[in-house]
Subunit: 284 residues, 2 copies
Amino acid sequence: MNVVVNGQFVAAEDALVSAFDRGFLLGDGLFETIRVLHGSPFGWDQHLARLCEGARFLKISLPFTPDALHRVAVRLVAANQVPDGLLRITLTRGPGPRGYSPQGAVHPTTILALHPAPPTPTAANTARSLITSSVRIPTGDPLARFKTCNKLPQILARMEADAAGADDALLANTDGYLVEASGSNLFWIHHGIVHTPPLAAGILPGVTRAILLELLPNLSLPVRETSPTREQLLRADGVFLSSSALGVAAARSLDDQPFAPSALVEKISRSYVALLEARTRQPG
Amino acid sequence: MNVVVNGQFVAAEDALVSAFDRGFLLGDGLFETIRVLHGSPFGWDQHLARLCEGARFLKISLPFTPDALHRVAVRLVAANQVPDGLLRITLTRGPGPRGYSPQGAVHPTTILALHPAPPTPTAANTARSLITSSVRIPTGDPLARFKTCNKLPQILARMEADAAGADDALLANTDGYLVEASGSNLFWIHHGIVHTPPLAAGILPGVTRAILLELLPNLSLPVRETSPTREQLLRADGVFLSSSALGVAAARSLDDQPFAPSALVEKISRSYVALLEARTRQPG
């Protein structure tokens, strides 16, 4: 499998970065995970917009234009013959002098790597058993708006899920509401209305979440941005997660208490897959 | 300059890690920065205790014993002829499959690197101008107890200081108290008592902070663990920062408001340097 390191195509085992890269030393970087189908990265513009906004916020100079990076991504997909997979783009501040100040770190590092395809997202085959994590997300964290390389809270939450034999963990914010899973956004249905926590809850602005917020009204499903308590979630008529890797995945249970199975979640999942198929067969 | 990568001595430009190392991808790792003087790492046992405790918390299997690592560190210092400098130890979970779960990542990465000596710490030559950062530290964050590779909040705070032309930034916790600087612990003196925020404020348990908490009573200085408001700090009889890199560094000002110069801070700084000298001349 080939990997792109600062524009160079290399074998995965030769994909190396300096031990003085601030991404490695301090988590000083950003990433995107993009679903690739029919050789085409889905939601490219939204992913790149978030990456570029994060780079602007962290004052990392972009070493590429989004268009040039798209050409490299498509070449990587073709070279590896992986038309159906996940593309991870990593952008770090690159090597620099010791210490937290980014002064003197002027050569960012860009890595593009492909990963095996996840199961074609359907609500059924990806249904997740969840636990409530002990990890809290700070409400109002300015870094929550970006997909940064500081993922220890999410790793801890996922370790708690692993230890409990669950698929994933829901995290509460410091206000006490359940607001997202370790690597996906949270939705739930109540009385025919689809709810999802607002960005102000401290959650990652997921690309799949944004696509769903556009899609759901077309399915005649009203949407409201509210954060649930654990009790509200357990009384929901259906719960699901969204991410580029999962698509729309039904949640089966929370802390061993089963959620109601939901035909609506099935319908939303099928509609999302249809959109993914349509947009990647005719990219642009 | 030589660097140790997983036990191998290599030139700095050959100190490379996999682009699939979870340290690089997710900040999934820990580090320590240790003052080396007279060829001897100062506070080794305390630094290694924090590193090992963090590894246990993150379930990273230690690929070394502290004693074996000490021998490697001393060899690195000798090989580079840097008896006076800073040693950074980085321990990450190593490469693993895509995603937040650490399952399947079983080969941690260990890097030892030396950096130039900071100025011999005296209160005067390291006196810091400070600003109040907009970045907040979440009170009760379980990760705050360890020196993790998730340093974007500290990097952001330091960027704010750089932009203001200041040396460093003080961060408030979510309770609104000023509790630490981007890379050092905070102390202030009021009516002859030395105050420093308690670990429960969400701060890093600094090794230099712990050494000072033992040293200060020997100087007949009472210590109290309390967190200051910005107003309390501005009324202090002396303010200083502590870290392995800085030693004891007087704070000159906060948001351009000068702190009172303090003979006591000078005395504490001199006593710390004397301890550093004594312990590194006779290691063990």
